[in-house]
Symmetry: C2
Subunit: 220 residues, 2 copies
């Protein structure tokens, strides 16, 4: 990656998608690929692909295309799949369960090492071989184990206090599943998954599509 | 909304966030607000807010600010919260369970009217008062009930066939939780929730933040 070059948020957001497509290509034993072919698969323009990958020094070669394995490894390295991030899940409800069972995460460099809850019916059980511990054990656990990321799937009314508690323990990465936007310290990185927002965008697009279809029908 | 004006995807993606913040303001009984105050709460610039809301005709008044209730209703209408979208969930696993239990969706205009699975242990049970039906009943159900949106939480290997099946039944909105990008017909609207992508962006930002912190430490 070129030193000091600031990469736009939009490019960063597209990188995991490249990673997924390249991973699929590798499974299909496809060894090299032009930006045109990648473009057709991904549904984005070839020039966008060239531009995106150029941000990281460009891995293509004129007339040869991209070496899929090489590109996959480089994109992975940029994303940090080699960092071995250790994660804990706070909230062993349905969402916490779903995330603990996601096999995808480990392959991408994220290991779930603990799950916490306050419900006595859940504490002591295992989800995907990870023991559910009581929240009272959180401080000791974080002192004894390096934790990079806290995944917060607690009810919304507990979210701010939970976020404050984990960051006070020195955890710098927060994956937030509550509808509340978390604004924490400058040294904490937050990624919000606002499911309602996503569903509302779908609703909007569906409404607009219907309007278009009706206008088209009217014009025919 | 100005006729024929094309609203950018970025603005659309911000609208649910305005909706959330305005809803919170209403709960706090705040009746009017300047774009500057809204800006401070939301952490985006006041000029961005004015620009965004101008896309929809602008609801502010010089020297008075925004009428919160009015703005909330208008943003809701633009998003389609008054459309009464009917949704079914396909896949009654942890993710399907989590989504069926989300009370937030109904308030935003999305009603869950059916859940489908193939697991005989799940079929016939109820999740949040919604009966889990066998996939064999899907066609009849969709014929008898208007369904706007299918929420797909099936394992990745079944995703493409499931998506084809629901769109063949005439469902035009797909909320996709699998890692596969679905490319369906032109008349079908898809919203993908790629959780791994979100986690990878968090990993990248965490790695970059660490680098920054170390550089800063080195410079001190």
């Amino acid at each position: 990656m070129s030193e000091g070059k600031k990469i736009s948020v939009a490019v960063i957001r597209r990188l995991p998608r490249y990673f997924r497509y390249l991973s699929d290509l590798l499974k299909l034993d496809i060894k090299r690929l032009s930006s045109r072919e990648l473009s057709q698969r991904m549904g984005i323009t070839a020039s966008q692909i060239r531009q995106d990958l150029n941000c990281f020094g460009g891995f293509g070669q004129q007339g040869y295309g991209y070496n899929v394995e090489n590109l996959f490894e480089e994109v992975g390295k940029i994303l940090g799949t080699d960092q071995g991030f250790k994660c804990i899940i706070i909230g062993a409800g349905n969402m916490g369960n779903a995330l603990a069972n996601y096999e995808n995460f480990k392959r991408r460099g994220f290991e779930m090492i603990g799950i916490f809850d306050v419900d006595p019916k859940k504490v002591g059980t295992y989800i995907n071989n990870i023991k559910v511990r009581h929240m009272d054990e959180l401080d000791d656990f974080v002192k004894e184990n390096h934790v990079d990321i806290a995944i917060l799937t607690v009810p919304n009314k507990y979210i701010i206090n939970t976020a404050k508690r984990v960051t006070a323990l020195g955890i710098k990465g927060i994956w937030n599943f509550s509808p509340t936007d978390l604004m924490l310290g400058d040294d904490v990185v937050v990624e919000n998954v606002h499911l309602s927002d996503s569903l509302m965008v779908l609703g909007y697009n569906l409404k607009e599509k219907r309007k278009q279809m009706e206008e088209k029908k009217g014009a025919d």
